[in-house]
């Protein structure tokens, strides 16, 4: 085994990435993980939540930036603030519930009290502190993230005061958020229907690296594909099972289909999206199955036939926003990946409701989530097993390098400043994430 490199210099880090391959230490070395937290998660734009989770002043949800616990809250002025969930006194976690409503945040230890903008507004026994103690000091607060911005209701925060604007950072990926939001007849989407929280013993990067991987379903998900293909459609269903079974059958699309019908597109800053692979008339609104008729009618009433057709013709599957967000408009799913340690990762999965769409579509969203993205689902569980086996495998130096070269010689320039795979099975989107990784990790 080669001598361990110290990952302190740009040269050390650059040596870990080669054309079409990545050194295994990028997934297994705690020192590199610590550096990722400082240089990626403390620096770039990180998704922290959706505006619909904090509709009224005082409403809050707890979230994370990297390993840091944060609170996203709507302040009395109507603006959303993202605060470190930490008391300026002894460092106690101030907000202890996932979500709620608060006029102010009170620390359970000595009663230090903060406004929903994070400012310290009350300190019991204040006369006892030395002269340098200043409750007006912005650091004597639940410190606010340096920058908060949102696009179409999706809220991001950055702990760095400098860097590109959110829209510059997202670039052409704004069109994927448009695709999510445009599908609501009333023009609004909202987080609804609960959240899945699942974890695995593997590195955080594995998750997004799988979500645009068109070559894995036929193998990883074979057990659910086969079980669904053999399912008797005459068995009783209340609608949920039918959606689930149809979805699992779609995962069995042959390699030829993935290579000829589905594309993969990448964009600067590590972002990418995979083309949709669905053709089941009960799963694709654009197919105009009778159950979607009311939806299409509501869309056409609100937006006109031409605009509705334009929206329905956008056919994207997962959109990955580097470093840790993935979402998908067809079933209104959004996943946020939280690194815990070099070999432990937690993921929160949310569903969205399209306001003005028939209730049945939201029921289908829930049915899809349960079968595909849920902690006890028939599909995701095989992905989690795979991440765990990678996490175990990469502890060994038997193979020093990870191969991410599929499609390397056949990638083509894409539209809007990006690159595309010649077909959807290209690993171009992983190489694209490593371009972003290298840029952030080697930037002083």
């Amino acid at each position: 085994m080669a001598t361990q490199l110290k990952p302190e210099t740009a040269e050390d880090i650059s040596a870990l990435i080669q054309p079409g391959r990545v050194h295994r230490r990028v997934y297994s070395d705690p020192a590199i993980f610590d550096l990722e937290m400082a240089r990626i998660f403390d620096r770039t734009w990180i998704y922290v939540g959706h505006e619909s989770q904090v509709k009224a002043p005082g409403e809050f949800v707890t979230t994370r930036i990297g390993r840091r616990p944060m609170v996203m809250v709507r302040h009395a002025d109507g603006e959303i603030r993202v605060l470190h969930n930490q008391c300026a006194h002894r460092g106690t976690m101030v907000v202890s519930t996932d979500a709620g409503h608060a006029e102010e945040f009170v620390c359970c230890y000595h009663g230090w009290t903060y406004g929903t903008d994070g400012k310290l507004i009350r300190v019991p026994l204040q006369h006892g502190y030395p002269a340098h103690f200043n409750p007006e000091d912005p650091n004597t607060a639940m410190v606010a993230a340096s920058r908060v911005d949102s696009y179409r209701g999706f809220v991001f925060a950055s702990l760095s005061p400098d860097g590109p604007s959110l829209t510059d950072f997202l670039g052409y990926m704004t069109t994927s958020f448009d695709d999510m939001a445009d599908r609501a007849p009333d023009g609004e989407i909202e987080v609804a229907g609960g959240v899945f929280k699942h974890a695995f013993d593997g590195n955080w990067k594995l998750y997004l690296e799988n979500l645009c991987d068109a070559a894995h379903p036929l193998f990883v998900h074979q057990s659910s594909i086969d079980a669904a293909v053999e399912q008797d459609d005459g068995a009783h269903t209340d609608g949920a099972g039918e959606i689930g079974v149809r979805q699992m059958r779609q995962n069995g699309a042959p390699y030829k289909f993935w290579m000829e019908q589905v594309g993969i597109w990448t964009y600067p800053n590590g972002h990418s999206f995979l083309g949709d692979y669905h053709d089941d008339e009960k799963l694709v609104a654009a197919k105009r199955d009778p159950v979607f008729a009311d939806y299409i009618k509501a869309m056409e009433t609100a937006k006109g036939a031409e605009e509705t057709q334009r929206i329905m013709e956008v056919t994207r599957w997962n959109s990955n926003v580097y470093p840790n967000l993935s979402f998908m408009s067809q079933f209104r799913q959004l996943r946020v990946v939280h690194p815990v340690s070099v070999n432990r990762t937690e993921v929160y999965t949310y569903s969205f409701r399209l306001k003005g769409a028939p209730d049945k579509m939201f029921e289908d969203t829930i049915a899809f989530a349960n079968v595909t993205n849920g902690t006890g689902s028939l599909v995701l569980t095989d992905d989690l097993e795979t991440y765990g086996r990678i996490g175990t495998g990469l502890q060994s130096a038997g193979a020093e390098w990870i191969e991410v070269g599929r499609g390397y010689d056949s990638d083509v320039p894409g539209d809007h400043g990006g690159r595309a795979g010649r077909d959807s099975t290209s690993e171009v989107y992983i190489r694209n994430m490593y371009d972003a990784w290298l840029g952030l990790m080697t930037e002083a």
């Binding site: 609804a192 229907g193 609960g194 959240v195 899945f196 929280k197 699942h198 974890a199 695995f200 013993d201 990883v220 074979q222 057990s223 659910s224 086969d226 079980a227 669904a228 053999e230 399912q231 008797d232 459609d233 068995a235 009783h236 269903t237 209340d238 609608g239 949920a240 099972g241 039918e242 689930g244 079974v245 699992m248 937690e346 569903s351 939201f362 029921e363 829930i366 049915a367 989530a369 349960n370 079968v371 849920g374 902690t375 006890g376 028939l378 995701l380 569980t381 095989d382 989690l384 097993e385 795979t386 765990g388």
Partner: protein, 167 residues
């Protein structure tokens, strides 16, 4: 024993119902998935909510929610040789207790019980506990058939690694 239960409250489950619950736990521990499936009625459903007091499996996600069609697919997947999450398989050990029949439930019979389950797989052991609700009607080889089963896990809304084995 039965006399100490409040007159208006639930009654202790009969030996036949207890035997039914123990039989089900045994089938699950022994990975006799298709026999477990056959305990459900033809329109039976199985539900593991993700929220405490969750009212509805259709408008909020669940750890597992299977109508009969999906339950059949889940069971067929559990019996697949290519099921990565069960290579090697989990070994489980279940204790079922505190079985009562809820008095005001009418037909079908509503049975409440407590369970604890250890799941061991590949050097890792997990502990689950919670309340089970079985809606039963007479029939089938085991004396009853399950119209629906709801499993309320104590840690339903916690951060979890993947769940493959039904409760």
């Amino acid at each position: 024993m039965a006399t100490i239960v409040e007159a208006t409250g639930p009654t202790l489950a009969s030996p036949e119902i207890e035997a039914f619950l123990l039989h089900e736990a045994r089938l699950l521990d022994e990975r006799r998935w298709d026999e477990w499936l056959s305990m459900f009625s033809d329109d039976g459903w199985y539900w593991v909510p993700i929220e405490e007091g969750q009212a509805d499996p259709r408008h909020t996600v669940s750890l597992m929610y299977d109508d009969r069609q999906l339950l059949e697919t889940r069971v067929r997947r559990l019996m697949q040789g290519k099921l990565h999450t069960q290579a090697p398989p989990s070994r489980t050990s279940r204790i079922v207790a505190n079985a009562t029949v809820e008095k005001d439930a009418g037909a079908p019979l509503l049975v409440r019980s407590k369970f604890q389950m250890i799941e061991y797989r590949r050097n890792r052991q997990r502990h689950f506990a919670g309340t089970c609700w079985h809606a039963l009607k007479p029939g089938g080889a085991a004396g009853y058939r399950i119209c629906w089963k709801k499993v309320e896990l104590a840690d339903c809304d916690s951060m979890m690694d993947g769940l493959t084995v039904p409760f």
